[in-house]
Subunit: 223 residues, 2 copies
Amino acid sequence: MTPQPTAASSPRPVLYSFYRSSCAWRVRLALNLKNIPFDTRPINLLAEQNKTPEYKAIQPFGAVPAFLEANSQGPALVESVAILEYLDETRPELPLLPKDPASRAKVRALVEAIAMDIQPIGSMRILKYIGKDKEAEWTSHFLKEGFSALEKMLEKTAGKYSFGDSVTMADLLLVPQFYNGIRFNIDMSAYPIMSRINSELETIPAFQASHPTKQPDCPPELR
Amino acid sequence: MTPQPTAASSPRPVLYSFYRSSCAWRVRLALNLKNIPFDTRPINLLAEQNKTPEYKAIQPFGAVPAFLEANSQGPALVESVAILEYLDETRPELPLLPKDPASRAKVRALVEAIAMDIQPIGSMRILKYIGKDKEAEWTSHFLKEGFSALEKMLEKTAGKYSFGDSVTMADLLLVPQFYNGIRFNIDMSAYPIMSRINSELETIPAFQASHPTKQPDCPPELR
C-alpha cells in the first residue's frame, strides 16, 4: 500500500477541476443539477499542476476531475463517469438514469460513446504527442467520425434531450463534447440532432452555471 | 427515426463479437461468469464485416460488441461497459459490483481507467490511422503510460483480484487489456500487481472459456 495523500477534510464536497476540462465539466453539471453545494479546487493543466506527486497520488493518470466527498479524509474518487454513477447512487433525487435496465443501457451507451469513442482521442495528452502541426487534421478526422456515429445513435433515442424528454447522464457528456467540437473548428451544424439538444440544454440554469467561463479558475479575459 | 434492422429473435441472447476484440471479450466474461448461455454471431473486423450498412444500423461506430437480449426483436444494446452494467442489473446473482457506493465507484474507476484511458488509444481504427510504421512506438508509449497509472490505482484497491478478494467488473477489463499488452510486446512483468491478478484470474474456468482462442470464430491455426 502507498501512503495516502492527506486530504484536508471539508464540510462540502470538493471537485478537483480545470475550468476547460470536459471531464470535470460533466461532474460539475451533475453537482449543479442535483443542487449539491461544492468547492472547486483548481488544478491548472496548462501549468502542469496535474503532474505533481501530490496530485498524482490522488489521480495516477494526472487527469481531472477528482471528487472528495464532504467530511471525508479521502481517498478522493476519480474518473468522471464513475463519479457520476456515485453521485446518482448517493443522491437519487433528480436521477440521471431512467429506471428500467434497457433504457439505462441506452443512456449509458450514449455516455460511453462520448467518453470512450470520442473524447479520449482528442484529449490533451494525445494531442501533445501528435504535435501542433498535425492536431487539426487529427481532431477533424476523429471528431467528425465520432459525431456522425453519435448522431445516428441519437436518431433512435432523442426526444427533447439525448434520451427522451428528461435530462439524463448522456446530456452531461454531450454539452462539453459539443463545446470541444466548436473549439476544434468542427462545423457542428452538420449534426442537427446534437445541435438542437445542445441548444435546449443551454437554456437550463444548472447548465449555464456549469459553463467553463463561469468557473473560478477561468482566466478573466475569457469570461 | 431510422428503420430498425430486422434482428431475428432468438431464444438465447446473442453476442455480436470478434474473437480478438478486447471489448467483446469483456461481455463474454460477464456472460460466462453469470452462467448465461448465449450464441455468438461473429463479425469479422479484418474482413470489415463491421462496416456493412446492416451492422452499422446496429452499432453506428462499427464496433463490437453488440448484445441482443433473448427473445428480443432489438435494437441490440451497444458499448461494452453499458452492456456489463445491464447484465449486472438484470442478472444480479454473482454481482460484478460491490454493494456500497464508494466501493462501486472505486471498481468503476478501474473499469473506466482501462476503458477510456488505455484501450481506445490502441484500438484498431486509431492504429490504422497512425500507420504500421509508427504503431509500435505509439502503443509502447501509451500502453506503458496507462499501465503504470493503473498499477498505482491497483496498489490501493487490489486484494486477490483488482478490488479486494472477489471478482468484479474491473477484472473483466483487466484480462483482455493485459493480453493486448502482450500482443503489443509490452514487458508486462514491469507491472507486478496486474501480472499477479491476471495469473489468478486465468485459473478460473469462466475466464478460460472466454479466451479468444476458445471462440468459434478463432482461426484454427491460432487455437
